[in-house]
């Protein structure tokens, strides 16, 4: 009996000075009302209401907790609110960007947009479309083709180099100084500004073929400077997690090292490698700055990466927004830019999904 009483008293001591669980909702309701009142004083808007409510709520909840539960609990609550708030703040641009691109991109995404180029579409055509209310002519077909060609060539250059370098780092160069140097500089290369990679390719081809050499291939070289480090890093990680027992088993059977690598190690890691390569493609497909300085800008279809200027989706968006086809009525250009942006986001998201899918579906079946 006496023991039971002490137990009860201890429990009440432990729970003493804690706010009931409904207290937080009371504070929420109070700050909503207070927020509405303050924001209507300075001119009501939903955004203003939300911001003032959030500030009032954080302050009020902290003060209430400080009074009822003590300073330490109050500090803990305050940080919790701030951390949740930071996440919500980080979501605002994401939601806003995706919503903007969807809302403004969908109207422009027609069959006509996908399968015609800007060849022959002048300011006069756009003016006519605005005045007459006719559909906007011109599209991004040339830019889509340019994007695909340049990205394909960049992939063709980067994947063999990146793959072989990763093989060297993991299989041949363990512990060597050269390996340390390569690892370090590959990491540094990840941080090269994309425009500097573009300038490098431009400078290289200027020295080789004379000034003003701007083709799709120059852009592909610039992109591969950005792509190689990503391929190396992801492939290296994947090769490292291949169990050593597999290699040793192959050696024990008298298999040559290079056969072991090509027949045992790489097939085991292929799902991770493929997903890494796909992610690296997703990274470079949206690059704008290197294309601007290496491939120029075109409004018609160019099938040849080795000669002539070329457009890609990002540069198409950039020029349509910055220099509208018709300066007096920029709306058709803006519409085309947002449609192209939607197309680009869809491509990038698709690549990301494919990468995740590849990594999960084709992952090696382990008994563990």
């Amino acid at each position: 009996m006496a023991a039971n009483q002490t137990l009860q008293r201890r429990q009440s001591q432990l729970t003493r000075g804690r706010l009931p669980s409904y207290a937080i909702w009371v504070v929420v309701a109070a700050s909503l009302i207070l927020g509405a009142a303050i924001s209507s004083l300075v001119g009501f808007s939903v955004v203003g209401w939300a911001i003032i409510t959030a500030i009032v709520f954080v302050l009020a909840a902290t003060i209430v907790t400080a009074v009822a539960e003590g300073e330490r609990k109050a500090k803990d609550k305050l940080v919790t609110f701030l951390v949740y708030g930071a996440f919500l703040i980080a979501l605002i641009p994401l939601v806003s960007v995706l919503w903007t691109v969807l809302e403004r991109g969908v109207p422009g995404l027609s069959y006509n947009f996908l399968f015609t180029s800007m060849n022959g579409v002048t300011g006069a055509v756009d003016n006519q479309a605005v005045e007459g209310g006719t559909p906007v002519l011109g599209g991004a077909y040339h830019a889509v083709l340019g994007t695909l060609q340049i990205t394909l060539w960049a992939t063709l250059i980067s994947v063999p180099i990146g793959l072989l370098t990763a093989v060297y780092l993991v299989e041949y160069g363990a512990g060597k100084n050269l390996t340390k140097a390569i690892t370090f500089f590959v990491d540094v290369m990840t941080g090269i500004p994309s425009i500097v990679a573009g300038l490098f390719a431009a400078a290289l081809f200027t020295l080789l073929f004379g000034p003003g050499t701007r083709t799709g291939f120059v852009a592909a070289v610039a992109l591969s400077v950005l792509m190689i480090p990503v391929v190396v890093r992801s492939t290296e990680e994947m090769l490292k997690i291949v169990p050593n027992e597999l290699r040793e088993a192959a050696y024990a059977l008298g298999v040559r090292k290079w056969r072991t690598i090509t027949k045992v190690v790489i097939p085991t890691a292929i799902s991770g490698i493929a997903s890494g390569v796909t992610l690296s493609i997703a990274r470079v497909i949206g690059e704008t700055a290197p294309i601007l300085v290496t491939a120029g800008f075109a409004s018609s279809i160019n099938w040849n990466v080795f000669s002539g200027w070329m457009s890609t989706l990002p540069t198409f968006i950039y020029y349509q927004i910055l220099t509208p086809t018709s300066p007096t009525s920029p709306d058709p250009s803006t519409q085309r830019a947002w449609a192209a942006a939607l197309l680009l986001i869809l491509m990038v998201m698709l690549l990301n999904l494919v990468a995740r899918f590849v990594a999960q579906i084709f992952a090696p079946k382990t008994s563990r």
Binding site: Y84, F87, L164, L204, T288, V293, N352
Partner: protein, 310 residues
């Protein structure tokens, strides 16, 4: 006989081994060569600007007078981005690693990674069309009420295409970098440290402050440095969002320029000496980001060795 057959089998395929190891070594060396040649080619193409007549350089006062304002502009834009992105990025990382419900944490991580997947030109377009007009209202208020601070001196830009807007867009692009790197480090905090802190009666925030943050400090510093590297070199956001002009203290007036945007806006039409000038500007940007990234990587590698010993 048996010795001979053994010998014969050891010879077979040896060429393949040699070729394969040689080719992969060559690929590794090629990467070093590429990075080296990036520096060399930029230097070769930039060299004429140093010997050029100062009057022929844009601005007419030599290369140093041309590059200095845009270097300052680059640093200012990156600084604004980091001041916004570092606290938000670290808090979001903490949210995902220690605050969010366990089941949802992975999904939230993917959502933040989505931010990194959106191409920079789309952020630029968004900043140009959506964000700038919104912020312009705030700038008018700032210029009216806080105009006596040089940073907010009026007249405020009507379009909102200012240094501050560029900094905000850069911050949005840097947040996912800081978040994903810090999240990795936060998750590596030894569980025993966290549990020990909680067992001593620490609140969650005290546990984070005493166990997680000290452990993660080098990681946070290098994540911030990598974010800085990205913010310094980011082109499209600034090229689209900022209407460039001369260097000025006010962040809410049109003006200022960054190196990357200067190159992107002028390179397509440049020729002759102007081309060399822009490549020289690119070289300066390359050196700045190289130093920042090398410091960040150095901190990470040192930390890796240290934590590997534990």
């Amino acid at each position: 006989m048996s010795i001979n057959s053994l010998k014969a089998s050891t010879d077979r395929g040896r060429a393949g081994d040699k070729i394969f190891s040689g080719v992969s070594l060559a690929a590794g060396v090629l990467i070093l060569a590429v990075l080296f040649s990036v520096a060399v080619f930029l230097m070769v193409q930039a060299a004429p600007i140093l010997s050029a007549d100062p009057a022929e350089v844009t601005g007419g006062e030599g290369f140093a007078a041309y590059i200095l304002p845009i270097v300052i502009g680059t640093v200012v834009a990156a600084a604004i981005a980091l001041i916004i992105a570092t606290p938000v990025g670290i808090a979001v990382a903490l949210f995902i690693s220690h605050y969010a419900p366990r089941r949802l944490a992975r999904a939230f991580g993917y959502v933040i990674d989505l931010l990194a997947a959106i191409p920079s030109v789309i952020y630029g377009a968004w900043g140009y069309i959506i964000l700038a007009p919104q912020l312009a209202k705030g700038y008018a208020w700032l210029a009216e009420n806080l105009g006596w601070i040089p940073l907010f001196a009026g007249p405020a830009s009507q379009t909102g295409k200012t240094m501050f807007t560029a900094g905000v867009v850069l911050a949005v692009m840097v947040i996912p970098i800081i978040t994903s790197l810090s999240r990795e480090i936060f998750l590596q905090t030894p569980n025993l440290h966290e549990e020990a802190a909680l067992a001593m009666g620490a609140t969650r925030w005290e546990m984070v402050r005493m166990a997680v943050l000290p452990f993660a400090r080098p990681g946070i510093i290098s994540a911030t440095m990598l974010g800085l590297g990205r913010a310094l070199g980011e082109t499209m956001a600034v090229a689209l969002v900022l209407s460039p002009g001369a260097l000025g203290a006010s962040l809410i007036r049109t003006g200022n320029q960054t190196i990357a945007a200067e190159i992107a806006l002028n390179f397509p039409e440049a020729f002759g000496l102007r081309l060399n000038e822009l490549i020289a500007a690119g070289l300066v940007l390359f050196v700045i980001t190289l130093i920042v990234n090398m410091i960040a990587r150095f901190i990470i590698t040192r930390h890796k060795e240290f934590s590997g010993a534990n």
